[in-house]
């Protein structure tokens, strides 16, 4: 039996399924119980948000130089204002702050350049950022060359130190992690067992212990006369510690790539490093973006632990400022500020990773 059918033209959707009112009705007010929950939720939100806004903005004091400029009814942002330079640069000498500013400007310019897809010469900029910029940054920050007065690392601090620790940790941990992950999957017994022992050792030890070891124990083992800067020791400790975590994230990604990919590459005559570098890693890294960024974010926040060995990162310097007798009693403002700064950076990383995932998606998921 043959039905003779004519094509049906599309008709507009019923009015009550589109638009904000319909959205509210279907999502928040569909039935008495959900309406009740919505109203309770709104009330709780009201209880939380209104006093917070009141404290942080409406009753807050923004201008002034001493604690007497604060009415004490809301937040006293005067405290943050007065100490802002210190929070950003630590104890870096005021007269030399322009050097740190150049490094900051270069740092953010390079990151923006690499992050914005439209800008050209990505490869050269990346090479510059990895090879040349660290040298420039070091010479500028540390000094001792070109008549720049030397600024020892124990005077570095604040946000500058946090960013330094986090950036070096990330840039160092990723390649070491890749090598360790490949090593752990290797068939060569020595390479494999070295990677396993390395990863399991560093993963099994708390970061605080690593930092303690780096600052207290390491000098005992070094020959007399050789001293390694405390900041450098912390950097090495953080990098090795994070590379173990990174290695496991990367290994997870490698395992998700079908074996056929490597076989196809091998069948085309590619060597091991070409198979990994051209075929397996690019696919694995793309899948690992959430895991890698997760590790980066936790690394960023873990840098606060350097406080324990006497380095003053952003949180450390805020805490130090809180014990200043002229500013006693403003710990809430201090911690809110520190939390907000950390949140800005971590949230930016998170958003960028989501953007990257969308951009790199070639629609091959099957």
């Amino acid at each position: 039996m043959i039905h003779n059918r004519t094509m049906i033209d599309p008709r507009p959707a019923p009015r009550n399924t589109l638009g904000p009112v319909a959205w509210l009705r279907t999502h928040l007010f569909n039935g008495p119980i959900n309406t009740l929950f919505t109203l309770i939720g709104l009330y709780v939100l009201y209880l939380l948000v209104v006093p917070t806004v009141q404290w942080a903005f409406i009753d807050a004091d923004w201008v002034g130089t001493t604690r007497d400029d604060c009415s004490r009814e809301g937040a006293c942002w005067v405290f943050i204002n007065a100490r802002f330079t210190q929070f950003i640069y630590g104890l870096y000498p005021r007269s030399e702050i322009w050097r740190a500013n150049i490094v900051f400007a270069g740092f953010f310019t390079l990151i923006a350049w690499l992050a914005i897809p439209r800008l050209p010469f990505k490869r050269w900029v990346a090479a510059f950022a990895l090879l040349v910029f660290p040298v420039i940054a070091f010479v500028l920050l540390y000094g001792g060359y070109f008549d720049l007065p030397r600024v020892p690392t124990h005077r570095w601090g604040g946000l500058m130190l946090t960013l330094l620790l986090a950036t070096v940790g990330m840039v160092g941990a990723l390649p070491i992690g890749i090598v360790l992950a490949l090593g752990r999957r290797s068939n060569m017994p020595i390479v494999k067992s070295f990677s396993v022992v390395f990863i399991e050792f560093w993963r099994g030890v708390p970061l605080i212990t690593v930092l303690f070891m780096a600052s207290v124990m390491l000098p005992l083992f070094l020959p007399t006369g050789i001293t390694v800067d405390r900041l450098v020791r912390a950097l090495i400790g953080i990098t090795l510690f994070q590379s173990a975590y990174m290695a496991e994230v990367i290994r997870g990604g490698l395992q998700a790539i079908p074996k056929g990919q490597e076989e196809a590459a091998a069948a085309l005559g590619m060597t091991y490093w070409k198979r990994m570098g051209l075929i397996v890693m690019p696919q694995a890294l793309k899948m690992m973006i959430p895991g890698i960024v997760n590790t980066f974010i936790s690394l960023f926040k873990d840098t606060t632990l350097v406080m324990i060995i006497g380095l003053f990162d952003l949180l450390g310097i805020v805490q130090a400022a809180l014990s200043d007798s002229r500013w006693l009693g403003f710990s809430l403002e201090g911690y809110v500020f520190a939390a907000f700064m950390f949140w800005i950076f971590c949230f930016s990383m998170s958003r960028y990773s989501q953007y990257l995932e969308r951009r790199l998606n070639t629609g091959h998921k099957r």
């Binding site: 079908p258 056929g260 990919q261 076989e263 196809a264 590459a265 091998a266 069948a267 085309l268 005559g269 590619m270 060597t271 070409k274 051209l278 075929i279 690019p282 696919q283 793309k286 070639t362 629609g363 091959h364 998921k365 099957r366």
Partner: protein, 253 residues
């Protein structure tokens, strides 16, 4: 056809007394067999009979434990350089295509010529387009594998192999993962290739293909070569009982 990474020789593939075990399981048992230049060979047999394992030994995706495999005059040993040399002249097409999903169709075909044979990009691309045209898929060159149908992907995989100018092509069940209506487009490309004189080893259940192009059909069961014959006598007058049973099962419906 070939750019002769291997010495020109009459015998392209030789296997002598090849044995292989997966743990305790004896997958390949005393395999003796050879392929001359230009020969088209179809290998069939029930699943688990070791036919895929056998052809995967030829480019050393699987390692054999006993016996000797010589490809284009180069004996396969543990030596990685030799293995890579053999692989450069042996193309392979997989059941699940194994295209590189992060690369476009064109890049899939260029990556090995550029990185293994060190061809300049323009030359590699021109050549890739030539082979993509031959498998009738040039208009999809800018797409990614995930955007193509199974039959299209398999044709790209064939083109990708051809871009390396192989002396031998191995096909490991190239149509088994395809929807029925896409099998023909892939088989047509394979038949054309066979007619141009490519040395081919195909593991397949497409008996029509075997009848059309094969010089020899090999039947394997339980890791052994049971029967080896030209297609006409193989199909019309199979010698062993197991071959008869297999053929009746596969041709019976």
């Amino acid at each position: 056809m070939s750019e002769a990474a291997l010495k020109p020789q009459d015998l392209m593939v030789e296997m002598r007394g090849v044995n292989k075990w997966y743990g305790d399981f004896h997958v390949l048992r005393d395999i003796d067999f050879e392929v001359k230049r230009g020969e088209r060979i179809v290998i069939c047999g029930p699943s688990g009979s070791g036919k895929s394992t056998m052809i995967r030994c030829i480019n050393h995706l699987e390692e054999h434990q006993q016996g000797e495999i010589v490809v284009g005059g180069v004996p396969l040993t543990q030596d990685v350089k030799r293995i890579e040399q053999v692989r450069r002249s042996v193309g392979m097409v997989f059941q699940h295509f194994n295209l590189f999903p992060h690369l476009s169709v064109l890049e899939n075909c260029c990556i090995a010529p550029m990185w293994v044979q060190k061809k300049p990009r323009r030359e590699a691309e021109a050549q890739a387009m030539k082979y993509l045209e031959r498998v009738r898929i040039a208009e999809q060159a800018k797409k990614y594998p995930g955007q193509l149908s199974g039959g299209q992907q398999q044709r790209v995989a064939i083109a990708r192999s051809l871009c390396m100018h192989p002396d031998v092509m191995l096909f490991d069940e190239p149509t088994s993962a395809l929807d029925p209506e896409m099998i023909k487009e892939v088989l047509d490309v394979m038949i054309e290739l066979a007619n141009e004189g490519m040395t081919m080893l195909c593991v397949t259940h497409e008996m029509g293909f075997a009848k059309t192009v094969a010089d020899r059909v090999i039947f394997m069961d339980q890791g052994q070569i049971i029967e080896e014959n030209a297609p006409e006598p193989f199909f019309n007058n199979p010698q062993s009982e197991r071959t008869q049973l297999f053929l009746s099962q596969i041709l019976g419906h």
